[in-house]
Symmetry: C2
Subunit: 232 residues, 2 copies
């Protein structure tokens, strides 16, 4: 397959864009990474994802696939002979889908709200939500990994990708808030897992440096605060 | 497999509970339907879904699976030899997952907001959202069904279950609001599809009667309005 057959429309700071990139790296599939500027959105993005107009989009042989976790499942099914990402047993697959969905629906919104909080109470509530969620994920990690390095066992799997893509933003949040979330006391399994995950060859080149992401976060937060002030 | 091996914890008015029930019916799997009273929640529910404490839960050979669309995928994979629910090609599978996710994340919240709206503006915005979403789903139906009765082709598939489970509540909303959503002019494909879907043997016994659901909706709305008034 030529490189031109597989494209990712994305942007380097987006955790959602990291997911299909890691999945393609695991499968050994070469792809074109097309950076979207977001303003204005490209015609290719608007045509490829007319419903949400959002990145990431995977374009494979001219057909677009949208929504990061759906793209990861598509990649796993389209290149099924190399490095399975979802487990093989239906029950384990359901468990992987459950935690991936929990991470997006509950855990990450809390992490994002720590940065966005405008009062001490909001900040405290968001931190509590993330710490409770992290404790649940620490338990899930112990159950899924069974003493091996990843949620997926010996190799990076679906939950690893779903959670791991947020590690850059987690580090920025930890630095800005002074709160340690993946703490070696509170979440020793995940603290170790995060190190191994980030140094994996499929991950290390797409995981943004904390310094660079922190600079980007400053710009985003300044814009968010200006918008919030304008709405008051 | 004995009936005792497969249980659904649920409640008859819940659209989410209908999904695994329809999927099991399609697969010809007999199951125990355990009605949850919701208040207080049963020990079995709290033990089976400790994260969300919500129905539906499928319990298969004593192992719980949570979240309705994850359960439907589990059922499809665990009983894979009968009536495939997801399409076989990775791209079609991604398309099915995309629309199922759109229905839950965008279309249904609009439908629910029509009933919950407390001002004319809120009601108008919700109706607009649902009509726009329905137009998108009408297009998706034409593309996926290719002239056959269901999104899944000749047989009920994943999008059919994802959207079809809301038809009872859609009818109640149409009746209460006086707005026709699955209108034969605006959405002729879906209007016909809804009739065929509801009369399917796998669906008709689990689809609540509109009259009974409307009575239930009155009780729920009265409670919601009392709570909203209490919060003001």
């Amino acid at each position: 397959m030529s490189k031109q057959d597989v494209k990712i429309l994305g942007a380097w700071p987006s955790p959602f864009v990291m997911r299909p990139r890691i999945a393609l790296n695991l499968k050994g599939v070469d792809y074109d990474f097309i950076q979207e500027s977001m303003s204005p959105k490209s015609d290719l993005l608007l045509k490829s994802n007319p419903v949400y107009k959002k990145i990431p989009v995977l374009i494979h042989a001219d057909k677009p696939v949208c929504e990061s976790l759906i793209i990861v499942q598509y990649i796993d099914e389209a290149w099924s002979s190399v490095h399975p990402i979802l487990p093989s047993h239906p029950y384990d697959r359901a468990t992987a889908r459950f935690w991936a969905s929990y991470i997006d629906d509950k855990w990450f919104p809390g992490l994002r709200d720590i940065g966005k909080a405008q009062t001490d109470d909001e900040r405290k509530a968001a931190i509590e939500q993330v710490l409770e969620g992290t404790a649940l994920l620490e338990e899930a990690y112990a159950k899924c990994s069974l003493g091996k390095p990843f949620f997926g066992g010996d190799k990076i799997g679906y939950i690893d990708i779903a959670l791991g893509c947020y590690l850059g933003w987690l580090r920025v949040t930890e630095r800005n808030s002074g709160i340690k979330i993946l703490d070696e006391e509170k979440a020793p399994g995940l603290a170790k897992w995060a190190e191994i995950f980030c140094s994996d060859p499929a991950v290390k080149d797409v995981m943004p440096e904390t310094e660079k992401l922190a600079e980007f976060a400053k710009v985003v937060m300044a814009r968010f605060k200006a918008e919030a002030a304008g709405q008051k």
